[in-house]
């Protein structure tokens, strides 16, 4: 496939562009704890009654008495080596804490992402194919309401409706039933692990727990996707290539698939990055509401206890996820739109 090479070079270039983002995030977290007012050493030392010698000792231990640029260099080096600091609450290295909890957040976010895609595309397409009909108004209503309804409020409404009133889902606390035995953690994704262990009841329970928080996140994030789908499809339906295809009498199915949808996808794909970013933002509140043991609640607990290293680690991890997702989207875009394969 001779088209692989240009795609790879584009990918490489995008990957290189990602480095400044990651560096920026690292710099940001560094600045936050070192430069702003407030004494981290005093914070960290203020557990057991701390005297000035204890604070000084901690300050030296943390390297806070070194010049700033040296601190930054050490910090970046540590990050690269995988030393993201230690959490006071858990007593574990931050990176391993995060890796332990990442599958929970990822499973939730990915499912929410899938739901957003499904709902957003469906709403937007229905609206575009029937402008002015109830479908169009429904789409617009969902977008307005969805973007104004914070994820935690939406989550509460869903809990009230589907658990308290209807009883269709299990108790919305955590990922799994406390009574049942969880499957062995092959991947950390409960939906996969239960299947691998042949535990169908477990799968249903895990799915039931996933549904409401994922839906809450999806409802909040679908507005930009639905809007762009509608606008993009409307534009494509009135575009010249579609007129040419109709003028040639091509079969309708082919026109919709190859001439309409394929072209309409392009702006939609560029919106996916924004959608994912909405999700990462909604993730923290949803994890708190549903007591979800993911990276968001980990960072929040650390924050409340003034344990700074996990919060920094969380920001860096989110930055890394953000970069990875955007790279993936760029790659997808390159596959779908042949015009970008040859530019620059």
């Amino acid at each position: 496939m001779l088209t692989v090479l240009p795609v790879l070079t584009v990918l490489l270039r995008r990957a290189l562009q990602a480095v400044p983002v990651l560096l920026g995030a690292a710099l940001f977290t560094f600045v936050l704890t070192r430069v702003l007012p407030g004494d981290p050493a005093a914070f960290l030392a203020s557990g057991p009654g701390a005297g000035p010698e204890a604070i000084e000792a901690i300050r030296h231990q943390l390297g806070l008495d070194r010049p700033l640029h040296e601190q930054l260099g050490r910090y970046l080096l540590d990050l690269a080596r995988g030393d993201w600091g230690q959490s006071f609450i858990t007593g574990q290295p931050v990176l391993s804490d995060l890796m332990l909890r990442l599958p929970a957040s990822l499973e939730l976010t990915l499912l929410a992402f899938g739901l957003t895609l499904l709902l957003g595309l469906a709403l937007g397409t229905a609206a575009a194919l029937g402008p002015g009909t109830w479908r169009d108004h429904l789409c617009r209503a969902c977008c307005s309401v969805g973007s104004c309804l914070p994820a935690f409020v939406g989550g509460l409404c869903l809990i009230q409706l589907f658990y308290v009133q209807l009883g269709w889902v299990p108790e919305p606390i955590g990922r799994f039933d406390m009574v049942l035995v969880p499957p062995p953690p092959y991947t950390g994704f409960l939906l996969i692990d239960t299947l691998l262990a042949g535990d169908l009841t477990g799968w249903r329970v895990a799915a039931g727990h996933l549904l409401l928080p994922a839906l809450a996140m999806a409802l909040f994030s679908l507005a930009p996707l639905a809007r762009v789908t509608r606008a993009s499809l409307l534009t494509v339906l009135g575009s010249e290539p579609l007129r040419t295809a109709t003028a040639l009498g091509l079969p309708r199915r082919q026109i919709v698939l190859h001439y309409a949808l394929h072209n309409a996808l392009l702006p939609i794909i560029t919106t996916l990055g924004l959608v994912f970013s909405y999700m990462l933002g909604a993730n923290v509140v949803v994890e708190k509401l549903f007591a979800w043991p993911g990276i968001g609640s980990y960072a929040l607990d650390a924050l409340m206890a003034s344990d700074h290293a996990p919060v920094q680690g969380f920001v860096l991890l989110v930055a890394a996820l953000f970069v990875a997702v955007n790279l993936g989207i760029d790659l997808l875009y390159g596959v779908v739109d042949p015009r970008t394969r040859h530019l620059r």
Binding site: P241, T244, V336
Partner: protein
């Protein structure tokens, strides 16, 4: 590909395209609310195209020429309405054609090439595939057969390196080549009538000449009727056997090309000729026509829409729709006629 078989021998009075008193307007919600009648963009237009004939439809930009072509192809925008008259192709009434009938017409009888050829092609699909789509919509073909026929079509329209071009995308081709591809797509229909809407817009002079020469050759070879829409009088004279002149949605003059241009009957045609560069004339000899196309949204539009720019205007031009002179019960293109009160 087989040569287009001779169309059945029909008496000269049975044209391929028959437009009679056709009026097309745009649904104007405000006008309807205010109780005003919807003003037709095209008003009571009648013309004919005989099998194998090339008719040039000439007029300023905005005179409604493209709208007529779109009406013939059934591609009117959703806001357009047929207000009256009839439209027939090969004896079939187009105004109440079903979608199934339209597909048949577009696959076997009618074809159109558009302005801005690169924008008229699907940007995300190789042109070879677009040609195959068109070919396979007419008859079941294997992929090899479709590819071979696509190749043959490209060679018919004089595209060099045809096998390589099959895999190319529209953005990789020049404007002239895109127009040839559009022509190839149109030819795949083996149409009896080809509508060419300003097919040379945006192309450089040499390419324009080449495209038109190609068009003429193909039309002659296949005994294909052509409706060539242009604002360029010189182009129309060089490539068309008959001319029809439009002004602001009204047909003002029609007939054999040399008669219309050498002895124009209508003041508008005379004005066009005086404004058109010709060999032997200096730039200073050209005379611009005063004014511009009237605003069709006005409530006080004169019956003959050229009245306000006309050097020979009479009082009845404001109120009475001009009649054709010389009159004929079944006008044919061989008859040189114009719609003007000054001829009576």
């Amino acid at each position: 590909m087989s040569a287009n078989p001779h169309p059945p021998i029909s008496p000269p009075a049975s044209p391929l395209l028959e437009v009679r008193d056709l009026s097309i307007g745009f649904a104007a919600a405000q006008a309807a609310q205010a109780g005003r009648p919807v003003l037709p963009t095209i008003e009571r237009l009648s013309l004919h195209v005989q099998p194998g004939q090339t008719l040039g439809l000439v007029g300023e930009s905005g005179s409604g020429k493209s709208l007529l072509a779109l009406a013939v192809m059934g591609l009117l925008p959703p806001t357009a309405r047929i207000l009256g008259g009839s439209l027939q192709v090969a004896g079939q009434n187009l105004l109440n054609a079903t979608p199934g009938q339209w597909q048949q017409l577009r696959r076997h009888t009618l074809a159109m090439v558009f302005q801005n050829p690169r924008q008229a092609l699907n940007p995300v699909r190789p042109i070879g595939l677009q040609l195959q789509d068109a070919l396979q919509s007419r008859a079941p073909l294997s992929r090899a057969q479709a590819q071979a026929q696509a190749l043959a079509l490209l060679e018919q329209v004089e595209i060099d390196q045809a096998p390589a071009r099959l895999k190319a995308y529209p953005h990789e081709l020049s404007g002239g080549m895109c127009q040839r591809v559009l022509l190839a797509l149109a030819l795949s229909r083996e149409p009896r009538l080809l509508l060419a809407d300003e097919p040379t817009t945006g192309l450089d002079i040499t390419t324009q000449a080449a495209i038109l020469k190609l068009l003429t050759r193909l039309a002659n070879e296949r005994h294909m009727a052509t409706l060539l829409i242009t604002h360029n009088l010189t182009m129309a004279r060089q490539h068309c056997s008959h001319l029809a002149v439009m002004h602001a949605g009204q047909l003002v003059e029609a007939g054999p090309a040399d008669q219309v241009l050498q002895q124009p009957l209508h003041p508008y045609t005379r004005g066009l000729r005086a404004a058109t560069p010709q060999r032997g004339l200096a730039l200073a000899d050209l005379q611009a026509m005063p004014g511009g196309l009237p605003d069709l949204g006005r409530a006080d539009l004169p019956a003959c829409r050229f009245a306000e720019r006309c050097p020979q205007v009479q009082t009845r031009c404001d109120t009475q729709f001009p009649e054709w002179r010389p009159q004929a019960s079944a006008p044919s293109e061989a008859l040189h006629r114009a719609a003007c009160w000054s001829l009576i």
